[in-house]
Symmetry: C2
Subunit: 161 residues, 2 copies
Amino acid sequence: MDETVKSAEAITQQCLQHFDVNWLINRAAHGLREAMDAEANAHGTSIRGHIVLTALVQNDGRPYSQLALGHALGVDKTTMTALLDKLERSGLVVRTPDPNDRRARIPVITEAGRELQAKLYDLLKAVEARVLDPLTPEERETLRSLLRKIIPMEHVEGSCM
Amino acid sequence: MDETVKSAEAITQQCLQHFDVNWLINRAAHGLREAMDAEANAHGTSIRGHIVLTALVQNDGRPYSQLALGHALGVDKTTMTALLDKLERSGLVVRTPDPNDRRARIPVITEAGRELQAKLYDLLKAVEARVLDPLTPEERETLRSLLRKIIPMEHVEGSCM
DNA sequence: TATTGTTATACTCTATAACTATA
DNA sequence: TATAGTTATAGAGTATAACAATA
């Protein structure tokens, strides 16, 4: 039991007391996000990659240009380019030319991408369930409800990444 | 009402439904952190700067070396160097030599640092209160309690930044 | 002229390794 | 030989500006 360790705990306690909601919520958010990202990394992609794949799956019938997809997910077009570069290198997505506009390219999910999305979807749900395991179903619903109340409404249409 | 905007909302809804806790908690965490950081930025520092100042104020009697301070706050020594560089440039902290170890330096908060810490402490509490305004006092306590339950315990002694 | 997508550039954060001066 | 602190460097993430092809 050296002094430094005791003080480290003391400072953590202070963080916890003084700005506790900020500290707690960022800790919890970081923990959940890291756990899910680790699962995605283990399968060769990331949470952000999975979000893009999910958007492509769910909008299968209506093809998105890169710009529209970026706008829908709330990210810059240069960020979208970087995300799609990775997904394309992994063979999860291919960029196809837009027949109506030769400037534009339509990202299309591949069969491999579709399979990974489905598998990862279940795995990420399981990670979320594991992290939330200490809460009862009622408590989880309460948490969701409380969080919704404090999310600034003007941002809800913005980024989901 | 163009198609793209409708789809953006649809995708946000999907994020909200499918991984809602991850999405909600990271949204809420980001919102709170950004609001507090904006306040700190407006006064020439950051949340992380304020945390360092707060640690220095609260451990006034027991001087920390940079390494011990970094350990206590859960950050790397190189990160600590960068944080202290900014605080020292702003005149909020001075590095003094450790009389017992000429390799070590003791960061000491200045009078200006002390004043800023106190002012910012109140301002950040006000920001937190403003963000949490939609919640009743009971709901805030419930939120704290639920968040504590899902924070991985092995990390609680770690970083508070 | 304006727009899609890419590239180049820059800025922040973060972490590792190399270095110095002590111990 | 090990440790405190700095610096150099490199990697991710993010944003702006310049550019090529097309509208």
